[in-house]
């Protein structure tokens, strides 16, 4: 066997209190698509940051084409042909596409030449992109194209992709995979990070599975079932959430012709959104990020005021009611952004429990706060949702993403809502915790609440929702029973491939 393109031997990286990577070894050959699998917190990100020169390993060494490789910064990594597409896009909203791409290059050509190169590469790989547009105006899929083209212009020999498909429609995913296969055929190795197992089975040649910072196994994805891979990731058997048999009651939440402008400059306005949710029903709302999800949640929670007649709860118009009034009535919401929107990062869990629980749990009387009761409420959330934290006195910021997510969802679920709206309830949460959160939502619906789940995870929506609707550019499709839909149809509801085409060289 020839020398691998990149080989990693015994990489170790410890942070205070946690060993992020413990003696990790793997090898990638030229042209190989290698999957890196693992739960959140398994150490995938740390590993690729070491390869990309953002983090310095404590021990171990890497070799690139047989030569020692120890990048001290991303420039050094780019210099030997490592390119990286980030999970949270590393783009500059106020700058143009061409400026963003120039920033990621070592020696960018003059702007005009660069613009031509961008057009050429984007045509070759079927990723249409106009160099002059301002990035803040682009959709999530287009932003990703900017990142990919930024890497491709440097002709990388190893391309690292960190969860690239989480923001794409199924059709866009297909096109991305065509592009990646073509790159691999040209000899570019790809290190592909994901926890979407079916994708990995269809795309990757080999997989390394991390758990708790250690390599716990390798496999050939085509020959391994998704379930086996999932169990290797989690290290335990998985139980899928189960809906109990239940019947629907009357309409709880009625939205009619909801149109609101987005409060943020780069947001998406809602246009004529209508739907009903019955008691006991879970309505799933899918859509690619940035198509009006945040605005819909804000309009339903009361953060953004809407005109009379647009949102009604039990037949009562909610137009003049702010979030606190709606909470009092039983209309609760859990937004996507955990730190800063759903929870105040520097406040303790008890204080955060007070913030949304005050009205419905009776935690405040005549303007005075009942801390003992609040603390008990916070402890109840921690117990029932298995939030791993030393206690309710800890700051929200100190919790890992998944644990905080369990807390903010649990906080709303335990307030016995009549209507619950959640956005991305299991984003960045490991499989076991995600299953627990989904089960809680199903149980809530079985108890007679109307639940609206806004999510970009289609598998999640297929699993728990009774009816499905798609948000695309601020418009909502007519809800359809989930049992009648397959992934292909859902993809089309989400807006298809957004004008992308398959690579044609």
């Amino acid at each position: 066997m020839s020398t691998p393109l990149l080989s990693i031997n015994g990489l170790t990286k410890a942070y205070p209190g946690v060993v992020a990577n413990d003696d990790v070894s793997l090898a990638i050959a030229a042209g190989e698509i290698h999957a890196l699998l693992g739960e959140n917190g398994a150490g995938k990100s740390t590993l690729v940051k070491m390869i990309y020169g953002l983090v310095k390993p404590d021990a171990g060494h890497m070799e690139m084409r047989g030569a020692p490789f120890a990048p001290t910064d991303p420039r050094a990594a780019r210099g030997v042909g490592v390119g990286m597409v980030f999970q949270h896009f590393s783009l500059f909203d106020a700058l143009s596409v061409a400026e963003n791409i120039a920033l990621g290059m070592e020696t960018p050509p003059p702007m005009r030449t660069l613009a031509d190169q961008i057009r050429a590469v984007s045509e070759t790989y079927g990723l249409p992109l106009s160099p002059d547009r301002v990035v803040g105006d682009l959709s999530a899929g287009e932003r990703q194209r900017v990142e990919i083209i930024r890497c491709l212009l440097q002709e990388p020999s190893l391309l690292i992709m960190d969860e690239p498909t989480s923001v794409l429609t199924p059709q866009e995913v297909d096109i991305l995979f065509e592009t990646l296969r073509k790159l691999s055929a040209e000899g570019t190795a790809i290190l592909y990070i994901s926890h979407k197992l079916e994708e990995i089975r269809s795309l990757c040649d080999a997989a390394t599975i991390l758990r708790g910072g250690k390599v716990v196994g390798t496999c050939v994805p085509q020959d391994t079932s998704a379930r086996d891979m999932a169990e290797m990731m989690v290290g335990a058997r998985l139980v899928a959430p189960k809906a109990q048999d239940h019947s629907f009651g009357g309409v709880k939440l009625a939205v009619k012709g909801l149109s609101v402008a987005s409060p943020s400059a780069f947001g998406m306005s809602l246009k004529d959104v209508s739907f009903d949710v019955q008691a006991g029903e879970v309505l799933g709302i899918g859509g690619v990020a940035g198509n009006g999800q945040d605005e819909l949640l804000a309009a339903l929670s009361g953060e953004v005021p809407c005109a009379p007649g647009m949102v009604a709860f039990d037949g009562r118009c909610l137009s003049g009611a702010g979030p606190e009034t709606r909470r009092g009535m039983g209309v609760l919401a859990a937004p996507e952004e955990r730190l800063g929107h759903a929870a105040a990062p520097n406040m303790s869990l008890t204080e955060n429990a007070m913030l949304t629980g005050a009205a419905r749990q009776g935690l405040a009387r005549r303007g005075f706060l009942d801390w003992a009761k609040t603390r008990a409420f916070a402890e109840r959330i921690i117990d029932s949702f298995d939030v791993r934290t030393p206690g309710p006195g800890n700051a929200a910021r100190s919790l890992s993403g998944g644990n905080l997510q369990k807390f903010v969802i649990g906080r709303e679920v335990l307030q016995r809502p009549e209507v619950l709206v959640v956005n991305q309830p299991t984003w960045g949460v490991d499989a076991a915790a995600a299953a627990a959160i989904r089960q809680a939502l199903l149980d809530l619906a079985a108890g007679g609440a109307a639940v609206v789940v806004i999510s970009q995870d289609l598998d999640e929506l297929m699993e728990i929702s009774d009816r499905f609707a798609a948000l695309n550019e601020g418009r909502l499709s007519a809800p359809r029973p989930t049992s009648e839909l397959d992934v292909e149809q859902i993809g089309l509801m989400l807006g298809g491939a957004h004008g992308m085409e398959v690579a044609h060289v």
């Binding site: 910064d73 420039r75 500059f92 920033l103």
Partner: protein
């Protein structure tokens, strides 16, 4: 009232000179803010520059050396701010306010024995026959070097930000410091350099007041010009040419209303005195109605946590 006492040519020339301190301080702060740092210490750096320039000019006899010293003084004081905000990760607003108070106190201490002294005169730029052209000569070609330097700095800042890679990187750092860090740019180093540039410009602006506009040393003589410069950057939507326009408007109207007061116009002095603020704000608010916005990371502390 005697409007004939006002000579329009001299008035316009004086307007240009009156605008220079604000212009210099504002363009420096513009660069700092485009790099994502909010330095409220402009006033403190100006007054420090004013006293440094004054002392060195009096002792060396050369205004040129004095202005260089003023720029260095402002930059050195700004290094304190850079240390607090970039290394110690202190809050930028509090550090900036502290810098202003510190600068005011420090300059008063340094300048104690210089009160009442007259500094050597700063000569106008020898432009030969150009200065003798009627009307245009005194307005355009009759100034000292610093006035022209201010204009050159405005043009250079605009060109660097728009056309060069260094400018692009500076804007990127100000727009999203996490992304810039992920791409391997040295956020702290770039910001520290921007802060020092801002300090040097503010120091020059301060020395222009103590050496040319007034010319003498008095405690607290910058009298809020640094704060005006800060506001100007915001109202100018972080664009260099608008800073020039705003500075000329403000400086010009300040000069004009002084002349009008001198001519005994029958408008209460209070209204005349507030006019530069009102006109400048109205004009720049109208201009900033387009969709320009603050740099994305402005005022946020950067900590490389990865």
């Amino acid at each position: 009232m005697d409007l004939s006492a006002i000579n329009p040519v001299l008035l316009i020339a004086a307007m240009i000179a009156a605008s220079t301190p604000i212009l210099l301080a504002a363009i420096g702060e513009l660069v700092v803010e485009r790099a994502g740092v909010l330095n409220l210490g402009v006033e403190g750096m100006m007054i420090t520059g004013a006293v440094c320039g004054f002392i060195i000019t009096v002792n060396s006899g050369s205004p040129t050396v004095g202005f260089i010293a003023a720029a260095m003084g402002g930059a050195v004081l700004s290094l304190l701010f850079a240390f607090l905000t970039q290394v110690a990760l202190a809050n930028q607003v509090a550090s900036g306010l502290a810098l202003t108070l510190f600068g005011l106190g420090l300059s008063a201490l340094m300048g104690q024995s210089y009160v009442g002294i007259k500094p050597p005169r700063t000569e106008t730029t020898p432009l030969g026959p150009l200065a003798d052209i009627p009307v245009i000569g005194p307005i355009v070609f009759g100034h000292d070097l610093i006035v022209y330097l201010g204009l050159v700095i405005i043009a250079a800042t605009w060109a660097v930000l728009k056309f060069t890679r260094a400018g692009l990187i500076l804007r990127a750092v100000g727009e999203n410091h996490d992304a810039a860090h992920a791409l391997g740019y040295k956020v702290k180093r770039i910001r520290t350099l921007a802060i020092m540039f801002g300090g040097a410009c503010a120091g020059l602006g301060g020395a222009y007041i103590s050496l040319i506009r007034v010319p003498q040393w008095t405690e607290g003589m910058t009298a809020g010009v640094g704060w005006i410069a800060l506001a100007l950057v915001v109202f100018a939507s972080w664009k260099p040419w608008r800073v020039l326009l705003g500075a000329y408007l403000f400086g010009g109207i300040t000069q004009l209303q002084l002349n009008l007061q001198g001519a005994g116009v029958a408008i209460p002095v209070e209204y005349l005195a507030m006019s530069p603020y009102i006109v400048t704000i109205i004009v720049l608010v109208i201009l900033s109605a387009d969709k320009s916005r603050a740099p994305g990371s402005l005022g946020r502390t950067f900590h490389a946590s990865s």
